[in-house]
Symmetry: C2
């Protein structure tokens, strides 16, 4: 199947499959049936078989999935095996949290530089990563060679910053600002982590649960 035809819901489940397979490998499990994996993950076996069949034939009748093999194949599909360069725009608390704690390499990316506009952080080195001034973005392109940019600066400048980044050739954005980027170029890939959308969703279900219990 052509990759760009596969439904987004299937894609969104792949990282979760990978996480469970990694845990199983850590616990020295070699193989698993779709039924057992489904039970662990709280989804049906047929859902798993259907999702994975978009990418090839991974299981064997009567044997199940070879976990190491499936893990490698999923890693390949998710691009982990071809690490790309990422720069991070915004070295505030969230930027620092990601720089210091997030396992970029394990997820197929390599941090090559951080940028900020505040004199307080420009020039600093955070967990081995240098913070440059945003005005020097172009100057550091040969050194940072970014494939993607991570936006952790205030939302008000998100769209202007994104445009500038696309002009210098990045092809993907990992967006942490609470703004939907208005980018129409289909060659630019955007994934957003909207904290407030997630918390509001929690609020919705809390209210819904209270309603149900009151009935």
């Amino acid at each position: 199947m052509k990759r760009d035809k596969i439904s987004r819901n299937v894609i969104l489940r792949l990282p979760r499959y990978l996480r469970y397979l990694e845990d199983l490998r850590k616990n020295d499990v070699d193989r698993i049936s779709s039924g057992e994996l489904g039970q662990l993950m709280g989804i049906t076996a047929s859902q798993i078989r259907q999702d994975l069949s978009c990418f090839g034939e991974f299981g064997q009748q009567g044997y199940g999935y070879n976990i190491e093999h499936l893990k490698e194949e999923l890693g390949e599909i998710l691009g982990i095996t071809r690490p790309q360069n990422a720069i991070i725009i915004g070295a505030g608390n969230l930027g620092r949290a990601l720089i210091g704690n997030f396992p970029f390499e394990r997820n197929g990316f390599r941090l090559t530089g951080a940028f900020d506009v505040s004199k307080v952080v420009v020039g600093a080195v955070i967990s081995g990563l240098e913070v440059y001034h945003m005005d020097d973005l172009e100057r550091y392109l040969p050194k940072t060679a970014p494939d993607i940019a991570i936006l952790t600066m205030p939302g008000g400048v998100a769209n202007a910053t994104a445009d500038r980044l696309i002009n210098v050739g990045i092809s993907g954005i990992w967006n942490f600002t609470n703004v939907d980027l208005k980018i129409t170029d289909p060659n630019i890939t955007i994934e957003s982590v909207h904290f407030s959308d997630s918390l509001l969703t929690l609020g919705y279900y809390l209210s819904a649960n209270t309603e149900t219990q009151e009935k």
Copy 2:
């Protein structure tokens, strides 16, 4: 429609509607048709009408939506008008980023305490919020009175911590650890922000785009 029967995909769009309505109000727009709103948001007018119809009749033929009114109704549905107490477990970089920068009040929550196990941060006050030792969770219950807990500590202790929090009576968890919580109590609401799932998804689409361009 009973709230717990509405599809999750609809719920996940509500915060985004609210975000766009807030922006429109900031720009002094009073009313909008489903067609115009759809164009702004990149979805169809009928999708918007269908989503909102799960919760009542908000638009008027020939007039569209009164933005202020719809914003208030959505805020009500998402529980913003009934603020709940939240404690945050883990006052590392990510915890501090949330404490210092995230607009909890605007999203229907109020931070009442932070907990950690590290001597370095216990006793500190971060943006006005006191950090207590996790051993003192029970002691501070009368003061913090938490409805939900936010997990920003290492994933290895996520499930044990969640069990303990449920034992003291919290009804919701906003989970930032990269672990799926194994909680089976249907009265506990969980929303997770899985950073690595999001970045892996970005990696997938970057690889898919490259493939397409190479063809």
